[in-house]
Amino acid sequence: MAGKRKPRLAVWKFASCDGCQLTILDCEDELLSIAAEIEIANFPEVSSAIMKGPYDISIVEGSITTPDEAERIHRVRRSSRFLVAVGACASSGGLQALRNFKDVNEFISFVYATPAYIEALNKSTPVRDHIRVDFELQGCPPNKYQLMEVLSACINGRKPAVAQHALCLDCKRKGIVCVMVANGTSCMGPVTQTGCGVICPSYRRGCYSCFGPMETPNTDSLASWFGRLGMPSEDIVREFRTMYGWSEAFRRESEAREKETKA
């Protein structure tokens, strides 16, 4: 690629905990090679030197929760060639989307001394609900190797090798003994997208789906099995209401199970 200018990267923050950006910084060994191949043009967490757009690759962290953000995300889209939404917030609304199940104004009146100063949208929503997204990388936070893979694929002009099947396939490839079958521990692995490296089952605990829904999640079957393992309905609702609680599959399941608890 001699003579060609380096692709320019921008990293954008919306409503989020910064964990995804920290994942980029956590690519310690790889950061130098990133810097050699990519021009970090706009990444305030790394450098105060901010170059103007347009950008070749934009990484967007966070969900859309305020009227201001709902506008700003369109500006980001306009200045980006390839836009990647990373993390649970950007791809499903995040933990803060738990408020979507309740009335946000009630929370505001409890939490803030002067609620009138707070301007928040009713719902916390994923980036995809507002603009076209070229690629979504799931995970709360995403896996740094997958993040590198997405960048590498972007600049080498190929499709990112990011699998969307269930965590179970990698759990078995690693030779882990299934915690659900052998120990009766509830595990969200069968409905969760792989990518984390199978962290929780490696430590003998069930997955709680910080990577969100896999390609074809059969949440109803798994939720029923949780019931057979002795889990009360209220807890089944909670299993599906974490950082990916507002993803369509998990939302539908938790709402269906919530009805059961009230019936």
Binding site: I38, R173, S221, L222
Partner: protein, 381 residues
């Protein structure tokens, strides 16, 4: 025929030493995280001494035995497949050089391994994979190397597990071939011995220098009775009668919809199955684009990517994926490779997170089947 020999439990350390002396790494049963798994073992103490298991659909529990048997459990959590047909394998590295791409192949793994505690169904499953990976159109070199380097120390099943049905599949429980050495474990209040059959010269070589008695009539009868008993207590049955035609006739059976409601498309059944051999190829590049690697990983017909053709996935529904899996195992495999793809080990039943049972699904189609016609023909054809 070679006379059968008796290896005393006290001689098991010597047996291990002999395997080590012959350059074998011993892979055998051991306890890990609440299950029996196959892993490197250095001494007989690491075997699941006095343990057994209870298996049902979606449930596996270790239990204490009343004796100190070394091989008193049924099918282990994972099969031997992971040592012969590796879960992930780097095929090559490619480098961009001024003279064009340079390909480097990784060093083959030439470790000799002794597989200790191989069951009849597992030998049958290796033979099925041999047919595909050694005697098929293409040879899988990594598999051939690992298979040739493996010494098979088989054991007769003392008891069959709750999800086993090898008897229906004609693959067990009795080991009759495919071993270097074969052990039948006899435990009693006074003695704890192994009747040893020698299958090959390689197996005989391991026994050289160990003073073994000849088995007497009583021992042989006892060993035979144990095998019969295991056969009499199969946890499951799968009626093989006309199975291929039955499934071909019932592609549109309503039962597929029922099972699809439960199936998580999680891939567990395929990955634990000792005969499933699907893989996917993944290429990765470094950031500068100077180096690429090609990896092969276990794949499953339960992923969308498995049937991805240009523009989309062919088996989008869970129904079509479960049906593909079950009919391949039990029916189309016969047309493709000349045998069933199932050896009746029961792993897919035990390790399915929601306990879906291939024997139950087949029986359900059989009992109500043929009521529905299908694209492949009508009832009775």
């Amino acid at each position: 025929m070679e006379p059968k020999l008796v290896l005393d439990r006290h001689q098991f350390d010597t047996f291990f030493e002999s395997l080590h002396k012959h350059g074998y790494e011993i892979i055998g049963p051991t306890l890990l995280d609440g299950a029996v798994v196959y892993a490197p073992v250095d001494s007989p103490d690491e075997l699941p001494v006095g343990w057994t298991d209870e298996q049902q659909g979606g449930v596996y529990r270790l239990k204490r035995r009343g004796d100190q048997a070394l091989f008193g459990y049924s099918a282990a959590a994972h099969s031997w497949k992971k040592f012969l047909f590796l879960p992930t394998l780097k095929l090559f590295e490619a480098y961009r050089t001024s003279g064009g791409p340079e390909i480097r192949h990784p060093q083959p793994d030439v470790r000799r391994r002794a597989f200790l505690g191989v069951r009849a169904c597992e030998i049958a499953s290796m033979e099925i994979q041999d047919r595909i990976l050694i005697h098929g159109t293409f040879q899988d070199t990594a598999y051939v190397q690992a298979r040739n380097a493996a010494l098979i120390v088989a054991v007769q099943c003392l008891q069959s597990g709750g999800t086993c049905f090898c008897r229906s599949m004609n693959t067990g429980p009795e080991v009759t071939r495919g071993y270097d050495l074969l052990l039948t474990e006899i435990t009693g209040p006074q003695k704890h011995v192994f009747i040893v059959d020698v299958g090959t010269d390689r197996g005989a070589g391991i026994l050289e220098g160990i003073a073994l008695a000849k088995a007497d009539e009583a021992d042989l009868k006892h060993a035979g009775d144990l095998v019969d008993e295991a056969a009499a207590h199969m946890g499951r049955v799968l009626d093989q009668n006309g199975i291929k035609e039955l499934l071909y006739r019932n592609y549109e059976h309503p039962r597929w919809e029922e099972v699809a409601k439960r199936c998580l498309t999680c891939t567990n059944c395929t990955i634990v199955c000792p005969t499933c051999f699907c893989t996917t190829i993944e290429d990765v590049t470094d950031l500068p684009g100077g180096k690429a690697e090609r990896w092969r990983r276990w794949d499953s017909c339960f992923t969308l990517d498995h049937s991805y053709l240009h523009g989309g996935c062919v088996r989008c529904s869970g129904l079509s994926r479960y049906r593909q899996w079950m009919t391949h195992k039990l029916a189309t495999w016969i047309d493709q490779f000349g045998t069933s793809g199932c050896v009746g080990c029961g792993r897919c039943i035990t390790w399915c997170p929601v306990g879906i049972d291939i024997t139950e699904e087949t029986a359900a189609i059989r009992s109500s089947g043929d009521a529905s016609s299908s694209i492949f023909g009508k009832k009775g054809e």
